[in-house]
């Protein structure tokens, strides 16, 4: 569904991606693992149209979206849940969600508003704080809001950048439950994580990114057998 081929992107002066090939199959959860500075965030930002690649291509549902603006990417049905959540702090929860549906407001306002009600039903924590400013929400609540806001664009594929970052374990588990449910409801998910243990519980396919290159490509079974990954990312006692 989403194909990335030979992607090279600079982040500032540094070449953060040095020719990356990954793909996300329709209806699956694909996870990109990797240490800090491996280029995971750069990869998602390039796909989402926030950074321009120097070389390579991004194809979504057969359409070339390389270097397209973020507005175009969102309209195509790809949505990013950014790292550190990035909510609009001085807007209410409801306004944050309406802003999420910004690209749909002109053409399908009614449907977007119906989606808003469904979203609040789906996320009771947000329903409870619907008129509070997003800046006053807890970290977990802000993460839910970021996910819900991305869903307001009605994406067929969701890009998630370290959704577990800085959250308490109980809330991390809840976030991963939501990821699984979203996937079961038909949304393709490309997940970037450092928390390999949690990712293993949900993902169908793994890529390992290291220093801007793909170092591993396989399913969870193969990955569990791979000794290097065992030692470096799963911290197994055997190492």
């Amino acid at each position: 569904m989403l194909e990335v081929a030979g992607l090279v992107t600079n982040y500032g002066m540094i070449e953060a991606l040095k020719g990356v090939d990954i793909s996300a199959a329709e209806g699956r959860i694909t996870c990109v693992l990797g240490p800090n500075g491996a280029g995971k965030t750069t990869l998602l930002m390039t796909i989402a149209g926030l950074l321009r690649p120097r070389r390579g291509s991004v194809t979504f549902e057969g359409r070339d979206i390389t270097g397209a603006s973020s507005t175009t990417v969102v309209r195509q049905g790809l949505a990013l849940v950014p790292e550190n959540r990035l909510v609009f702090p001085d807007m209410t929860v409801r306004e944050n969600l309406v802003a999420g549906a910004y690209t749909r407001l002109a053409s399908e306002r009614g449907e977007a508003m119906a989606d808003l009600d469904r979203m609040l039903e789906r996320f009771p924590v947000l329903q409870a704080r619907v008129n509070a400013n997003a800046g006053t929400l807890s970290g977990g609540e802000q993460q839910m809001l970021a996910v819900a806001r991305a869903l307001m664009t009605k994406p067929r594929c969701l890009l998630m950048d370290e959704p577990s970052l800085g959250l308490a374990p109980l809330i991390v588990a809840e976030v991963f439950n939501i990821i699984r449910e979203l996937n079961e409801a038909g949304t393709t998910i490309l997940l970037v994580e450092q928390n390999a243990h949690m990712a293993l519980t949900v993902a169908h396919h793994f890529f390992l990114l290291d220093q801007g290159r793909v170092a591993f490509d396989g399913d969870p079974g193969t990955m569990a057998e791979d000794e290097v990954i065992q030692r470096a990312y799963l911290g197994s006692a055997g190492g």
């Binding site: 926030l50 973020s70 969102v74 949505a79 702090p89 001085d90 807007m91 910004y102 800046g135």
Partner: protein, 299 residues
Amino acid sequence: MADFLQNCLDGIATGAAYALLALGFTLIFGVLRRLNLSYGPSIMAGVFAGTALYMGFNAGLAEIAIATVIGAVVVGAYIERLCFWAIRKDMAVASMVSSFVIWMQIEEAVTLLFPDRTYAFPGILADAVVEFGPFFLRASSLAMLAIAAIAVLGLLALIYRTHFGLAVRAVSENPEAARVAGVNTGLVTFLAFACASALGGLAGFLIAAGDQQITPLFGLWATFKGLIAMMLGGMGSIPGAVLGGLLLGVVEANALWYLGVETRDLVAYMLLFVVLTFRPGGLMGQAALMARRAAESRV
């Protein structure tokens, strides 16, 4: 006491003009997070477009007002493209200095086209005075107050009641998150800049009509009065801009009456300096500043 109240009344009338200027400033600052020193000069250029129409074709008030607004918007668009859109977002000083040299450019261009010191501008309700018991107010001031109030309400409706306003607020609060949500931040910024310029053009028209004359120095005056009023109220805050403008007008009017013309501006700058050092967020901005800091420090 009667003097003081009359001063306040005069001050509010001038303050309404300051408030309009500050509103445009605050709107630009909100979406750009950078300072546009050329804001006043763009308005000045618009007013001269109005004057040209008045002198050359003896046009009516409505046509002159429209020409002023269009002139300000066109020059504003030029500034936005050259000094802000084209310069990297993290180079705020470069944008500011760029807007300064463009200010010099606009001022020289206008001076070349209009070499005299002052030019006539048509007045609204020129010499009429309205009395309220012992107090009085020029009718043109009253008209300015009314139009300023309508403009503020219109701006609030635009920002809080429309899709475009939602996008403007989204870009102001977090440009990256706005892009993630699919907002075309470049276009929204440009349009917000154009709105601010239109608002400035309206303010310029009203002020020039009140004075019935215009000089190229108007650019400097408008930039600094708008800037001070915005900073007093709190950068990026709409109610702050209105409050800051009115406060500046009232303080100036009283300083003029009790202390004289030399001291008036001194008092205004002292007030600004004290507010900046003790309440950097401005009078209205403080609450928002604190809330944002609290939000940023939360994990």
